[in-house]
Assembly symmetry: C2
């Protein structure tokens, strides 16, 4: 696992450096907007989606410098969604990644525009950089990321989440919500990383997609457990806010103990989806362990 | 000009029908989000950007059914920007295209998510449909639309606009703002329409871009004049709100008479940029007239 930590740290540094370069410089007009975009993205975050992209890229023997662009695009979408999700009309939160949220540090209008511009930038990267030998495959990657971000993906999941406040959801209903809200982008991260290479056939891409689906759900279940158990300082975001906001979670549906058991089952399902992959899937296996066993 | 009106009406019907099909159906989950997306896009609007795309497509001998997808993508970006721009933390407006604004009809969170999902859908269309014979050109179109929408395009222009409230801008400063806020997307509409065909070389695309730049500015100058002069009922949005919000406009910088003269100059510059194009540029010429001479 130490070896994994070294790998993860080096990939996190790689994506951080790349995001630093790819985001508009803070001294280019409109400065305040560019500063807010950088604030919303840089300097924090576990970079789980980029790690997944890099791990999937290794499996598909993709060039890491290409995967880094795809990973950056996914992370920009994720960061924009957090900036918007924290706004007063949504979750109205003040703390994110250990810092004041974007609209608190800047203002609501700037946070709104920064999120909007981060989404544009994500697609600009996919249009601008060469990520595959076949531009038609790259167009398919544009479609994949857009669908994952859109109304039948992440944004749709957030809408379902909004409607669920105050309701007691069943476990299948929770799953439906999370498959959209966080699962779609996590799956996109894995698939985009893999598609920067050409080492996987359609069946193997489907296996990877299954793996990512389980990982995405496991991530959410663990998130719910941590929100209920961990202190704010460790979490870097306001703890206990699910219960406070009366949001349905796995903890509220299953209890803490059963949620942990469920996360463990999902981890095993994720690993099983990688059956038949050899050593190249090492990082994906380790990532499954990391996501379920993490403490923050 | 009657002939132009027939043409414009038929293109408006074409884009309306296409948007109707391309937007997620209102009965697909999450229903409320999909309804809000459709509300923000359908049933109103002059569709100036699609008209430009179709006119540029004619010049480049592009297939209209391909141009319609590119035009829809641009219009989705435009519609998302209106939904966000009308929100309380931005312009806080209640009337748009003759109807309650999206956050008034639904709620702020839904308007925010609908805007976000409309942006994603725009890029999904460019990734999903075949618009050119060369996928590499189509990737360039993704980049073009993303850059036009982003922090150095439309979203950046809105940020500059926010910072300008209460200030007296010079005409060059106003121009800088509008070249971003509305100009970038108008230029993208023309260029995307043209790039669906392969009838134009680089020099001709640059001419078209110049035309669109002048048209974009003229559109804004006329918008400012109409905001100062036209009644709300004709305009379909709250009239007089620029002065009310203390926003710098061409009318506040130049006065109404000189603004009208300026719009006329821009129209002539736009037409001059089309020099050397033959009959295929007819619709572009007529569109320049329409944009400057419109009363709403």
């Amino acid at each position: 696992m130490n070896d994994f930590q070294d790998w993860a740290r080096s990939q996190q540094q790689r994506i951080e450096a790349r995001l630093h370069q790819l985001l508009p410089a803070p001294d280019i007009a409109p400065q305040r907007l560019h500063q807010a975009m950088r604030y919303a993205v840089l300097g924090a975050g576990k970079r789980v989606r980029p790690l997944l992209a890099f791990a999937a890229g290794e499996l598909a023997r993709a060039r890491p410098e290409r995967v880094a662009i795809a990973a950056a695009a996914v992370e920009l979408i994720h960061a924009y969604s957090l900036a918007h999700d924290d706004m007063p009309c949504m979750d109205d939160d003040v703390l994110r990644r250990g810092k004041p949220t974007c609209h608190v540090e800047y203002d609501e209008a700037t946070a709104l525009l920064a999120g909007d511009a981060l989404q544009s930038l994500a697609f600009q990267l996919l249009g601008e950089y060469r990520l595959t030998s076949d531009p038609a495959v790259q167009l398919d990657m544009v479609k994949l990321l857009a669908a994952a971000a859109g109304s039948r993906g992440m944004a749709g999941g957030q809408a379902i989440d909004l409607e669920a406040v105050g309701k007691a959801l069943t476990v299948p209903e929770l799953e439906f919500m999370h498959i959209h809200k966080t699962g779609a982008l996590i799956r996109a991260a894995a698939l985009l990383g893999a598609r920067c290479g050409d080492g996987l056939d359609g069946k193997q891409l489907a296996q990877l997609d299954h793996y990512a689906k389980y990982i995405g759900l496991a991530f959410q279940v663990v998130d719910d457990v941590l929100d209920a158990e961990a202190p704010t300082a460790t979490l870097g975001k306001t703890a206990g806010k699910d219960a406070q906001h009366n949001k349905p979670t796995y903890v509220s549906a299953l209890g803490i103990a059963e949620s942990k058991t469920f996360a463990e089952e999902l981890r095993r399902d994720a690993l099983a989806a990688l059956d038949g992959f050899g050593e190249d899937a090492l990082r994906l296996r380790q990532l499954a362990d990391f996501i379920v066993l993490r403490k923050f």
